[in-house]
Symmetry: C2
């Protein structure tokens, strides 16, 4: 192990998560760390079923509670897809602003990123319309409904 300055990107993320949790008097326990690890490792948003499968020793009640806590701390985002199951991914300020393809057949969620210019146009149009309606926008989500390659 010649590398002593060691910290990889994943370790940096864990440090950041820990700092954010500490800021609200929360601890970065093994269960929470395992959930963050899983969310980052999986390419796509993960469901409770995914967590139960990949982390069989983490009780469901703890998984649900940890996800609520991580969401409250602004570290994790809950996604309501096309099926009845919630899914979870890293919050956008830990990754980048993006959107989703939702498979109406199997419920799979795939991340996509729009061109910056188009994203800007959308945001401006939203600001415009919202102000007319007396609505204060915090953000937006664009979901594409369709059928994924595996289900075609």
């Amino acid at each position: 192990m010649a590398n002593t300055e060691a910290h990889g990107l994943l370790d940096d993320l864990h440090d950041l998560v820990e700092t954010r949790l500490r800021r609200v008097d929360q601890r970065y326990t093994a269960g929470r760390r395992a959930i963050i690890d899983l969310i980052v490792t999986a390419g796509n948003p993960v469901s409770i079923a995914d967590i139960a499968t990949r982390l069989p020793d983490l009780p469901r009640s703890s998984a649900y509670r940890n996800l609520v806590d991580l969401e409250s701390a602004g570290l994790v985002r809950r996604i309501v897809g096309h099926d009845e199951f919630a899914r979870f991914e890293l919050a956008e300020d830990l990754t980048e602003h993006h959107h989703h393809l939702l498979c109406v057949a199997c419920g799979k969620v795939i991340d996509i990123t729009l061109a910056a210019g188009l994203e800007r146009n959308v945001s401006e149009a939203i600001e415009e319309i919202a102000s007319v309606e007396g609505f204060r926008p915090h953000g937006h989500r664009l979901d594409v409904l369709g059928v994924c390659g595996a289900c075609a």
Copy 2:
């Protein structure tokens, strides 16, 4: 009542709905008609609670079943907003393509329409990205999260 050619826009809609239902061997019963009336009359998408309030004599099980049937017939669209309650509106081929402002405080849903040009740009970008992912897109939804005027 001097007007004998009578059929208003609402009547035309009812006729269209009846035709579409007949096409799939379904009947346009009083309960279903009342639900369509309510959905059209209300400016915004309606929840089951709205239906229970405005149509107190329509049993919940019938309301849910009718909504499922109307959705299957492509006449009504189910909206998953920011709260835990589903809402319902006319399907887009009975109105026009549009999107929603979602109040994160009270759950209210407000219809909005984007400029046609922007809408086209979004659709094209989606086609492009989806094809790269091997995903066959059927449509999209754009939800703006924020706080409505009443909740500000």
